[in-house]
């Protein structure tokens, strides 16, 4: 073949920098040099080679010794073929995720070229959503159309552009998450899922007794992981999802859509504190979109700027935008929450309740009211005919294979009869023993771990232990988020053990 002009194949080696700091910096370079081989060196390793490396034909010398070593390994029961197979398998999985990310990046770049087109399509989709929620709530005879219309642009941008999700699979774990904390805007969620082809349910069955499209989100509809609408709880659940993603090695974004009204709930700020104080390098970024509508009417000083300052005080990045400017929405969503380890981002989106219909925009007395037939006709006429529908490109982040399920074993209990022990202490012992038997036990503590003996678990399994401090509503919400997220795709059960303290009153959370 060479005679006919074919280029000889060369062996190329990558990953030549040792990961283990105890190894020599040229451990994977010097012994593997030879003719017709290519080694890809990182700058640091290359520098080391120039500085103190020895260049020689090392790959073809000492082969007898190498063969002898391999035989000895075999004799000692180490099957080198099996080892390489396993390493290959692990690396394929690892690189699979990177390639997916690369492809996502490439397609994002491709899309940039047609950014104007994207914005146009999303604006059209937002109008379609507005028309649909008006019709849905009119058919239902109740519901909150104006609360949906204010958030339609943000939801269109998230569902039809920014979020990496797969409308074909409600149980997918390796996707971005969306939580509708202001659950009364659920017609908008159902409308977006319907438009994306994710649900077959007829949107016009909203709020009917036999419909899965309930008046507030519940897991009756598989796309909903956490029931919301008891306001102020979505952000805590988002925290739980972030922890679940961290435990499962999923680098996904979490979007929690909140209303300005629900920010009066103290649990929102418990959750805000937890989110920023847990932003260690492995923390999955979470973005919060907030809309502002009624602050001016309430006259209590909660302007968008005030919300931004509050979130900043809790350690967040806060960005203020016009929540109806599609260009601004896309800009901020592209910037926010894609870099692991950064602080969570609060997007304070100033929006207008009832946006898109003149007789609803910012008007008093329209909260939680559907339009009658004539009002609907006028509103739909103003919104115009349905424009082109946006499509969702299914995107997944790639999932590492979960560890094989451990066979449940029973814990051993042994207390001498003559020595009294507190049940709180026994709980700590049992939790720690269970932690050893099962990788799926996660502990959350309410700043009582030395009283509840959960510290035993915390010390043994720090990766699976989270300190929620004395913010018990948030603790309950985190538990829900964690439990809700890990129930499906990984097919392993999650056992959560939040510790409460006496007088624990997580009414809101429960």
């Amino acid at each position: 073949m060479a005679e006919r002009g074919a280029q000889p194949q060369r062996l190329a080696r990558a990953s030549t920098s040792p990961k283990n700091p105890a190894y020599r910096d040229l451990a994977y370079v010097e012994p593997l040099m030879g003719p017709h081989t290519v080694a890809i060196l990182a700058e640091k390793t290359y520098g080391a080679l120039i500085d103190h490396g020895r260049i020689d034909d090392t790959a073809t010398t000492g082969l007898d010794q190498a063969m002898q070593d391999l035989e000895e390994l075999q004799a000692n029961g180490i099957d080198d073929l099996r080892v390489t197979d396993e390493l290959e398998e692990i690396n394929l999985q690892k690189f699979g995720g990177s390639i997916d990310a690369l492809q996502t990046g490439v397609s994002a770049r491709q899309n940039q070229g047609s950014r104007g087109q994207t914005e146009q399509t999303l604006r059209s989709e937002a109008q379609r959503l507005r028309r649909l929620v008006i019709r849905m709530t009119n058919a239902a005879g109740s519901g909150h159309p104006t609360s949906c219309m204010s958030a339609a642009d943000i939801v269109a941008a998230l569902f039809f552009h920014t979020m990496r999700w797969d409308p074909r699979d409600a149980k997918a774990r390796d996707v971005d998450s969306f939580i509708l904390s202001k659950g009364h805007a659920v017609p908008l969620l159902w409308a977006a899922l319907s438009e994306a082809g994710a649900i077959d349910d007829d949107p016009m069955t909203l709020r009917r007794i036999d419909s899965r499209l309930e008046g507030h989100p519940t897991p009756s509809q598989p796309w909903v992981k956490i029931a919301t609408g008891s306001l102020g709880q979505g952000l805590s659940a988002a925290n739980g999802i972030a922890l679940a993603n961290r435990l499962d090695g999923i680098d996904a974004s979490i979007y929690c859509l909140m209303g300005d009204g629900e920010c009066a709930e103290g649990s929102v700020w418990e959750a805000a504190e937890f989110a920023s104080s847990n932003s260690c390098p492995a923390w999955s970024p979470s973005s919060t979109s907030m809309r502002w509508a009624r602050a001016a009417r309430r006259g209590n000083g909660t302007t968008p700027g005030a919300y931004a300052r509050r979130f900043e005080a809790f350690g967040w990045n806060a960005v203020e935008i016009d929540g109806h400017d599609m260009g601004a929405i896309l800009d901020v969503l592209e910037r926010a929450g894609r870099t692991p380890g950064q602080a969570p981002t609060a997007i304070i989106a100033a929006t207008i309740k009832g946006k898109g219909v003149s007789f609803l925009e910012g008007k008093e007395g329209w909260h939680g009211k559907p339009l009658d037939k004539d009002q609907m006709a006028a509103a739909l006429a103003e919104l115009g005919e349905d424009g082109p529908r946006a499509t969702v490109e299914p995107r997944r982040l790639g999932l590492q294979t979960p560890p094989a399920a451990q066979a449940p074993k029973s814990i051993t209990i042994d207390y001498p009869r003559d020595k009294p022990v507190a049940t709180r202490e026994a709980y700590g012992h049992a939790l720690t023993k269970l932690g050893a038997l099962r990788g799926d036990i996660v502990g959350i503590d309410g700043d009582t771990m030395n009283s509840t003996f959960a510290e035993l678990f915390a010390k043994a399994y720090p990766q699976r232990f989270f300190e929620g401090y004395i913010a018990e509503q948030n603790m309950a919400g985190i538990g829900l988020g964690l439990a809700g997220q890990r129930q499906d795709a990984l097919c392993r059960d999650l056992r959560l053990f939040p510790d409460a303290r006496r007088g624990f009153h997580p009414h809101g959370g429960l």
Binding site: P219, K225, I226, A227, T228, G229, S230, Q233, A237, S410, I411, T412, I413, D414, Y415, P416, R417, D418, K419, P420, V421, A422, T423, R424, E425, A426, Y427, H429, A430, L431, K433, L434, R438, I441, T448, S451, T452, A454, A476, G479, L480, A483, G484, Q487, D493, L494, R495, L496, F497, P498, D499, A500, R501, R502, G503, F504, H505, H507, G509, L510
Partner: protein, 234 residues
Amino acid sequence: MAAYSRPPHLVFCGSHAGISIGEDGSSQMGLEDVAMFRAIEGSTVLCPADAVSAERLTEMAADRAGIVYLRTTRPKLPILYDGNDSFPIGGSKTLRSSKQDAVTIIASGVTVAEALAAHEALAKRGIAVRVIDAYSIKPIDREMLARAAQETRAILTVEDHRSEGGLGDAVAEALPTPIADPAPGRARHPAFRHGSPAARPARHFPPRHRGSSGRADRLERDGFGTKLNRALNF
């Protein structure tokens, strides 16, 4: 919203619950927790009486679907069980029983050891009482209750909780034929002393004892409640 989110497994452990935290004061006792968690749809409420059952119930909780509440307490409690004993959810442990049992005392958590002490005190006076550890408050052991209602003349619950929604209510709801009109018979403790409604109960007595002069009534006349209180160190 937790119940409506239908978490596959979510265990809450409330520690330092009940009156046994003592000196921290009445505001710190959390005497509504059992009622709160019992009211949640599909929930499980467990209250161990010793370290062995606490460990085993923690393990059982991990396998239980839905929301589980595990109530633990502060003081050191005597070990009542062997490491190999099993504690199925929905079960109970009969710690003392005889054919002569006049009354069944149902306790859970810290009150189990106290009920055992009461058993000893009453035995000295020739009164046999049955003692049940109702470690599973929800679901409660209905078979055991039906048996107790049939075989003994009264059922007495010893509560470490507000009377609304605690062990007493769990027992009353599960008895074969609960009755509505109150009669005396439930031990009271200091947490209820100030401004709390008069002791209710008696829904816990099977109908055939209503207005009777049976052993339960005599116990009350004889100051059983006071003696039990003393036995409970109140």
